[in-house]
């Protein structure tokens, strides 16, 4: 999980320059979330962790913090492995 969180943190740091992210920090509260960022975040998670973000995963709470994203990824990875 720590490796997953580190990868997400590195990705986010490209958009929030100079900001040191905490794992439970609300990224939406920082005020820089536009559609391009949202799409890139989906593609990043899908490509980096080889999962597919689907309709039912689209809940703001799943993407609000690094911890939340890591939990979403953790939930989805076993499903992929099970296939």
């Amino acid at each position: 999980m720590e490796e997953v969180k580190a990868k997400i943190k590195k990705f986010l740091s490209r958009f929030f320059t100079g900001h040191e992210f905490q794992a439970d920090e609300d990224i939406f509260a920082l005020g820089f979330v536009n559609s391009m960022f949202a799409m890139q975040l989906v593609l990043f998670i899908e490509q980096e962790f080889q999962i597919t973000i689907e309709n039912e995963d689209l809940d703001f709470d799943n993407f609000r913090t690094i911890n939340a994203m890591a939990l979403l990824i953790k939930r989805k990875i076993p499903v992929v492995a099970g296939n």
Partner: protein
Amino acid sequence: MKIELNPQQKNAKATFRAFVDEQIVPYADQCDREERTPLNLIQKLAQKGYLSAVIPQESGGSGMDMITFGLLNEELGRGCSSLRSLLTVHSMVAHALLKWGSRFQKEYWIPKLASGEVIAAFALSEPNVGSDAKSVETTATFSGDSYILNGQKKWITYGQIADIFLVFANCEGKPSTFLVEKNTPGLTIAPISGMLGVRASMLAELHLDNCQIPQENLVCRQGFGFSHVAASALDYGRYSVAWGCVGIAQACLEACIKYTSQRKQFGVYLKEHQLIRQMISEAIANIKAARLLCYQAGYLKEIGDPKSIIETSIAKYFASTIVNKVANDAVQIHGGNGCSSEYPVQRYLRDAKIMEIIEGSTQIQQITIAEYGYQEYLFSAELTEISQQLVGT
């Protein structure tokens, strides 16, 4: 690094080119003049599996890779930008449903889109809403087991003949997306004519007056209609349009090569005049550069790289601006003939201008690309390191 089409892609390009030369080019000027696309042309696209380019084979589609899809857009764009725009919007809706649709929507609609039995249109723009797409004024309210839609949509490509519309609306403060069938009570479709370019794309204005649709027609979750459904569909649209621009520019170049090799002025063929050669060389270089940007975007799309989004924006920006230069020069080279309906270059120029406006205007792309530049370069730790190394050398 190897930038080369594989054998399948080369074959596909040759097939697309032959189809366009035989089935589309002879009719494109007529379609432009009559401001309509004959149904049989659309059926031919469907029969060849071109309308299902982005739909996987297991869902009845052609399952093209992104480069092959790009090549199809280039070739269709070379022949007729209106038909290319049909491929664009149909593919955008198919992609939106494949990515964000419910299981029912995928199982019910995707096979119909794949076969061409159903034509889809993308309904985002409104009379008061263009670039500021997040501010749509169309509303959706939930009532019983239905949504009630009210508002207007404008400039809807192939809206005159589409069977379903992907409609974007504000649902109690949440940007949301809905599928609306053409025969839904409360939906009125009014044709738009007299446009500058892409004149055969059968634009329409939609009037939604207490238009009641089942709740199952909500696509994706409420609140994600713009950030995810529209944004990812528009990303596909930009990719398609970028390639379409390459196609128009290529058509201009080929027309100019032919014309300047056949027409004489001052006792020599036009191609012997150096100022003509300057325009030809600029066109060749610009087209090759635009095509390479499209290849780059397509490759990144194929591997699902997050950078594909900005690279697509850059490709669309560059291709849509150079095609205007190339088409403008093409008309210039053709002189009076270029301004006549007897030659297609005037159509190319009119179509080229539309490319700078649709799927994010040139200015919107510039804002996006500059934002990316500041994010990527100005504060980049790696760049700072490189800069320091350069200063130190």
